[in-house]
């Protein structure tokens, strides 16, 4: 049981290993706080929709399961969207269309199809929760690197020395690709070291 949860954090990390959900990963991680909000919103959607999907998995005919999954996911995405708009308007405005776009995040549909439609509610919940946390962590790390170099801050607090020159490329799309590539590289190096021990 616990394995279902842990594997999403490292061994099958959705960003660094499965390389899924690249659109929000690359687009919103200009700042830590955006990465965190996107990650948490995605976690909420993935956990709730996976629980519903695994509950009704035996009632859904094989042929229409993908539309069913999509409708369920879209419901929770709408809920998350309205929640952010009501309580965190600034963040909602900054993330823009990427919150509604969670509905097409393939991490979610991937877990629904590959895990929740074949396993019980408890295991599906743990699996989805692990994936969500893994996704959130990856986005925060990516956001941290880009925010430190691109703006000299972490979560809005200045961490660099006085007179630090912002690396403007890091808050642009090119910086997202460079950072993601380097982080996946570092991830693989660490992973190899850990495995060989």
């Amino acid at each position: 049981m616990i394995k279902d949860f842990v594997k999403g954090l490292w061994r099958e990390n959705p960003v660094f290993v499965q390389v899924l959900g690249m659109c929000p990963t690359l687009a919103v991680t200009t700042k830590c706080v955006f990465g965190l909000s996107m990650g948490l919103a995605t976690t909420f959607v993935i956990v709730s929709s996976v629980v519903v999907i695994s509950t009704i998995r035996k009632l859904v005919p094989e042929q229409v399961r993908i539309p069913m999954f999509t409708v369920i996911i879209a419901t929770f995405v709408t809920a998350a969207d309205y929640f952010l708009k009501a309580n965190f308007f600034e963040i909602s405005k900054a993330l823009g269309p990427y919150i509604p776009l969670i509905v097409v995040n393939c991490v979610i549909l991937g877990r629904a199809e590959a895990f929740a439609s074949k396993h019980g509610v408890a295991r599906s919940f743990l699996d989805a929760f692990g994936m969500g946390i893994g996704f959130t962590c990856a986005l925060v790390v990516l956001g941290a690197v880009r925010e430190v170099l691109g703006a000299g801050t972490v979560f809005g607090y200045p961490v660099m020395w006085e007179g630090f020159t912002n690396w403007i490329v890091m808050v642009m799309p090119a910086g997202a690709f460079i950072t993601l590539g380097l982080l996946v590289g570092v991830f693989n190096i660490v992973d190899k070291r850990v495995k060989s021990k």
């Binding site: 020159t165 690396w167 403007i168 490329v169 890091m170 642009m172 090119a174 460079i178």
Partner: protein
Amino acid sequence: MKKLSINISPHIFSPVDTRYMMKGVFLALIPAVGASIFFFRMQAISLLIVSAFGATLTELVLQKLRGRKVRINDYSAFLTGVLLALVLPPSLPLWMAFLGSVFAVALGKEVFGGLGCNIFNPALLARAFLMATFPVHLTTWSNPVGVDTVTAATPLALAKFEHIIAPYLNLIEGNVSGSLGETSAIALLIGLVFLLRKKIIDHRIPAAFIGTVAVFSTITHLVAPGTFSSPIANVLSGGLLLGAIFMATDPVTSPVTVKGRWIFGIGCGLITMLIRIWGGLPEGVMYSILLMNALTPLINRASRPKRFGVANAR
């Protein structure tokens, strides 16, 4: 008794190897390096040293880390560093030049698998990275002879935004503002002659590149002489000569076929002129070469010579 040794062929080796090529290119760069030191003094010397040192150090560290044979004595990383310094503005902070040289070797070359496997010219890729990272510093130009507090527009920027043409003699000598190595046309042309004599580069790419720019700018100059500068000014100013002679001819990132080289050079010239005339930037040599670098595999495939006696497939 002397043993008879038997070797398999080949028995005759050409002296041309990576080291020979890189040394040749460096020798050809000496006039340009000299001119940059003459015009920009200490700024040029320190930028050149920092950049060449950074590139070589990065190559050494990465090759050690990856457990590969260390090949810094083939001078390719050193040359990348020198070329990078030559396309940087003289007043750039040294740590930015160092960062650029690390980027050039690490992300421009080594991540692709090292020398010969890179898609883009490492020095230009690093310049593009610095341009996107520190746009203000990369577009702050200073006048020659080390007066580092006075900023000045480059001849191309003057021509584009204020319609002032720099005197041709200054462009030939290099007594204008601009990147370290691009200002002196005569020094670069001496390098070109040397490279062609030693057969280190092929004449087709520089000829096609410079020729396209000359033809294109003749047409635009004839259509609107007040708005667009003359072909002579276009050829002599900016990074055109440096790019056409030393960057576009990089054997790794340019096509190998004869037809492909013409296409590559003409493409570079066209993109350069499009950017110079209708783009937002005064200069387009860097982006034109990088864009054509990306097209090089396609050009190679499209311009493959027909084998003798083989009919067309379609």
